[in-house]
């Protein structure tokens, strides 16, 4: 159990310490590790039959996966469905991943492709009831408190209105971009992935990524010029 990170003052035997926690602890709990396991380690352990290792990969990448899909699709419900499907495909096809250390880029490539396919097909219903995972601002209880687990900080109403309008325009403008430009903008300019990783994710060259980002930005700057 040397991988657990205890306070230096602790003199308890490590194998007798228990933690208050809301979910089952595993050897991969990132909050407790001195050095979190690499993606490559987690992929290898998953392939060796350790499911808990894949759970860490899920927690490590689910936000980025949902974020990318959400921005490509413009629907959080669809993004949740695509993300779940992407992890499932990644898990089933894990053995085909040539470079385990590139799991993140590989997963996001699956997410991007599924999102673009989903967008083309626009399935209207999900296989699992995922609505309840959304904790949006309109998901409030009768007493006005947010039901969601995530804290939503106070935002000035005037700023919120302006932001909402700009966000609406941005999403609309993004939807109007060609697939490649939209994906490149989302991954590079919004998700701030390195160009190399964007290139791997989109299956194109770094130069092509630069060009798509350039064209996309030019278009978006035109659409959002009133705000710039």
């Amino acid at each position: 159990m040397a991988i657990l990170n205890f306070p230096a003052t602790s003199n308890l035997p490590m194998d007798r310490v228990s933690f208050p926690m809301t979910r089952r602890a595993t050897e991969f709990d990132e909050d407790r590790l001195v050095t979190p396991p690499t993606d490559a380690t987690l992929v290898q352990r998953t392939l060796a039959g350790n499911r808990a290792a894949f759970d860490v990969l899920i927690r490590r990448y689910q936000r980025q996966a949902v974020s990318v899909s959400y921005r490509l699709l413009g629907s959080s419900q669809d993004a949740l469905e695509v993300t779940q499907d992407a992890f499932l495909r990644a898990f089933v096809n894990l053995g085909s991943l040539k470079k385990p250390e590139a799991f993140g880029g590989w997963l996001l490539r699956i997410v991007s492709n599924l999102s673009l396919n989903f967008r083309r097909g626009r399935k209207s219903r999900s296989q699992l009831p995922l609505d309840d995972l959304l904790a949006s601002s309109d998901t409030t209880s009768a007493n006005g408190h947010s039901i969601g687990n995530l804290a939503i900080g106070y935002v000035d109403p005037a700023h919120q209105l302006q932001s909402a309008e700009m966000g609406r325009r941005l999403r609309k403008a993004l939807r109007q971009l060609p697939d490649r430009q939209r994906s490149a903008i989302i991954l590079f300019a919004i998700e701030q992935m390195p160009q190399k990783q964007v290139a791997r994710t989109l299956g194109c060259s770094v130069e092509a990524v630069k060009w798509h980002v350039f064209q996309g930005r030019k278009r978006l700057r035109e659409v959002l010029k009133d705000y710039l």
């Binding site: 979910r23 894949f54 499932l88 932001s163 300019a189 350039f214 959002l224």
Partner: protein, 79 residues
């Protein structure tokens, strides 16, 4: 109106993806051309919009992770 080539270089300048010599050359252009500086500023503002005005809906991440994990449970990865 700037040349499209310069516009493309300005964007790469902003992204930090130019090699040092080209970066220095674009820096000189920026020093002497207000229009180029204004163009660069507009791209900087656009990037700020991307980062601050593209909010994500709140998700119950732990629940999502559990659901994905549960969906995967009956499956096995390919060797």
């Amino acid at each position: 109106m700037l040349f499209p080539e310069l516009d493309f270089l300005l964007m790469q300048y902003l992204d930090g993806s130019l090699p040092p010599e080209q970066r220095a050359a674009v820096g000189k252009i920026l020093d002497s051309h207000p229009e180029a500086r204004a163009q660069l500023r507009s791209y900087q503002k656009l990037d700020n919009v991307f980062r601050s005005e593209a909010p994500m809906p709140s998700i119950q991440w732990e629940d999502l992770a559990e659901r994905i994990s549960a969906a995967i449970r009956p499956r096995a990865p390919s060797a």
